[in-house]
């Protein structure tokens, strides 16, 4: 015991004297990630810095005034139109992420626990929608939800409604439905992975200690798959806030989201500083919402014990 301890101390000393820069684990790891890291820094950090810089400037028709100002943030946060759009975007992305996780969890659970030999086949089937373009998938939702769409014709045929409903398409629910469908696979996969890692004997142990199926799920399976639920939630929540294709195609005027406004500022309106301020505000608010959701979820799970 003591000999081994002394040995390791001696070894550490030798390492300190030699200072082998590229031989250390950390340096080698860093060398491995550096190409990707460099790429990510250049392609992600630099544009973000550009956007942040713009948000403190002012647009004077065709030229940009580089004096520092918070005027763009005042507009972004107090103008009712932008505030409403931001709140609506947050509401939509929050609803989409919660709905997606709620719908994805049972599917992931089924594949992981009852998929048997066909697990890979199930996972393959889930990726099939991605073989077609996203635009086509959104268009097909238009076909389903439209005035003469599949859903309306079906409900008419069954005699449940007398005339086609216009409440299905061109509003925020249409955006929520379409996005939930589009992001399902991104939620199923992380939840599936975390469920696969749950040791099945732990569930047996919970049963052995008196828990029925629901209690053992709430006390063991769910807390142990929480990492998957949280990543699914974030994977869906963060990008959907910034989605502008879906609201443009199925949202109508009631489904317009903040990113449509941002796009307008960078495009037609040619007001980059305002667009930048809107982007940064959205980014900060969605980060705060994501953090709050994660904390709330952790708290709920701790309660379930």
């Amino acid at each position: 015991m003591t000999a081994a301890a002394e040995g390791s101390i001696a070894y550490r000393k030798a390492r300190q004297n030699a200072k082998p820069l590229l031989q250390s684990e950390a340096a080698r790891g860093f060398a491995l990630v550096s190409p990707t890291l460099a790429f990510a820094v250049v392609m992600l950090l630099v544009p973000i810095l550009v956007v942040i810089a713009h948000s403190f400037w002012t647009q004077n028709y065709l030229t940009v005034d580089y004096t520092f100002t918070l005027e763009q943030y005042r507009i972004a946060l107090t103008e009712p139109i932008y505030r409403d759009l931001l709140l609506r975007s947050l509401f939509i992305s929050f609803s989409v992420s919660v709905l997606t996780v709620l719908l994805a969890y049972p599917i992931a659970y089924y594949i992981s626990f009852h998929g048997g030999r066909h697990k890979n086949l199930w996972l393959f089937l889930i990726t099939i929608p991605f073989w077609t373009s996203y635009l086509l998938r959104v268009m097909s939702w238009k076909v389903i939800l439209g005035y003469n769409g599949v859903l309306n014709s079906g409900l008419l045929g069954l005699g449940i409604i007398d005339e086609p409903s216009t409440a299905l398409l061109y509003n925020s629910s249409a955006v929520i439905i379409t996005l939930t469908h589009a992001w399902a696979a991104f939620a199923i996969l992380p939840i599936f992975v975390s469920l696969e890692k749950v040791d099945r004997t732990l569930i047996e142990a919970a049963t052995d200690l008196g828990d029925g199926p629901i209690r053992s799920f709430l006390r063991v399976t769910l807390p142990l798959s929480m990492t998957g639920v949280i990543s699914a939630l974030l994977i869906v929540m963060i990008p959907t806030v910034g989605d502008y294709v879906t609201p443009k195609l199925v949202g109508g005027k009631d489904g317009v989201m903040i990113s449509n406004a941002i796009q307008a500022q960078f495009g037609k309106a040619l007001n980059w500083p305002l667009g930048a301020a809107l982007s940064v505000s959205t980014m900060l608010v969605v980060s705060a919402m994501a953090a709050a959701s994660v904390l709330l979820l952790r708290l709920l799970v701790r309660r379930a014990r």
Binding site: D199, T201, L202, E204, A205, A206, T207, D208, L209, G210, D211, G212, R215, R219, V220, P223, L224, R305
Partner: protein, 362 residues
């Protein structure tokens, strides 16, 4: 009522397709008994344990716990608790929360729950480690937590699925003694599944030896070791010299045989003895043959030549060829008189007690 049955296994069969993991097993385990299911992997011992726990259902037959038939009663409502082979410690909970897991459903008041958790932790010598995280425990500590978590439920039967197999030898031997002591202290019926014959012999009140889904013999450790019913059981429990014999007289409870090398022997008929023509098998354990040094003599002796010698520290294993026998004898001798220095080719005399010669089925 010391002999009351706590567990009754009645004609239990478990088949998977045409394969029978357990074939018409019958067994009665007494209240307060330390009972072991011993056998090689795939013999059905774990299947039987899981059926008692309720994780598996018999294809036919029934299981009674404390007189109650367990048909249709799920695992969470059985008066049994299990120590899993992998220990199955909940990784998201600390030691205390792990031990209190099953108590939460009983809705005890906080003080009573804490008292029972502390008592269980003290029982397995883990007092003071309650706040330790599950992932910060050593193998031995995890095992103790699993034990405390099951014992705190005060089950009628504690099921142990190869609980010591993941521990190193020294810790395993220490835990054998502790488990036995613990069982004596709490008086709960323990059922241990193991493939380690020494573990079963050291801890159990009784052992069931299983092969291929069938229970071969149920008896106390000494009985099972000294009087195995057949060659398979004899072999599984340790070394055994098998000696060919001819039956001379087969009447009443004993038989008389003529053996190669050991002359005429009279021995008890084994329980599951099947007469197979006039041929019989007689066995003697290697440690029941002892080397006679210098001019020491014994009432019964056999002489032979040392052909192999294997040194094991406290003992030496000798392979001795005896004229007239079809195969050499193996002899286990302690090293206090120099068995480790016996030269190959030396002629030695071996003394034995005729009672150590037992007849068994093939």
């Amino acid at each position: 009522m010391p002999d009351r049955s706590m567990i009754e296994i009645r004609n239990v069969t478990r088949s998977y397709g045409t394969f029978k993991a357990l074939d018409d097993a019958n067994l009665a385990i007494r209240e307060g008994e330390f009972f072991s299911l011993l056998g090689p992997s795939g013999c059905g011992k774990t299947t039987l344990l899981r059926m008692i726990a309720g994780f598996d259902t018999p294809t036919s037959g029934s299981i009674l716990i404390d007189g109650q038939p367990m048909d249709g009663i799920p695992a969470n409502r059985r008066p049994t608790n299990m120590v899993f082979q992998s220990y199955a410690i909940f990784p998201h909970l600390n030691v205390e929360q792990n031990v209190a897991y099953g108590l939460k459903r009983m809705r005890l008041d906080a003080a009573e729950e804490k008292r029972r958790v502390d008592e269980a932790l003290a029982m397995v010598s883990l007092a003071g480690l309650g706040k330790r995280g599950a992932t910060e425990l050593s193998g031995g500590q995890r095992q103790r937590v699993a034990l405390a978590r099951a014992l705190v439920m005060r089950p009628k039967v504690l099921l142990l699925d190869e609980p010591l197999s993941a521990l190193d030898k020294k810790l395993r031997e220490q835990m054998q003694v502790e488990l036995r002591r613990l069982q004596q202290a709490v008086g709960i019926t323990f059922i241990l599944v193991t493939h380690d014959q020494y573990e079963a012999l050291a801890m159990s009140d009784r052992i069931a030896v299983m092969f291929g889904g069938k229970i071969a013999q149920v008896a106390a450790p000494k009985e099972i070791y000294q009087r195995p019913v057949n060659r398979q059981v004899a072999d599984f429990l340790g070394g055994m010299n098998f000696i060919k014999a001819e039956i001379v007289d087969d009447a009443g409870t004993s038989i008389v045989v003529d053996t190669l090398g050991f002359g005429r022997v009279k021995t008890d008929k084994p329980a599951a003895y099947v007469k197979n023509g006039s041929a019989a098998t007689i066995g003697i354990r290697p440690e029941r043959l002892r080397v006679l040094w210098d001019d020491a003599t014994a009432r019964h002796e056999v002489a032979g030549t040392v052909v192999e010698r294997h040194y094991f520290g406290e003992i030496t294993h000798l392979i001795v060829e005896v004229p007239g026998m079809d195969r050499p004898l193996s002899v286990t001798e302690t090293n206090d008189f120099g068995a480790d220095d016996l030269p190959l080719g030396a002629t030695i005399r071996l003394g034995y007690d005729p009672d150590a010669l037992v007849a068994m089925a093939d």
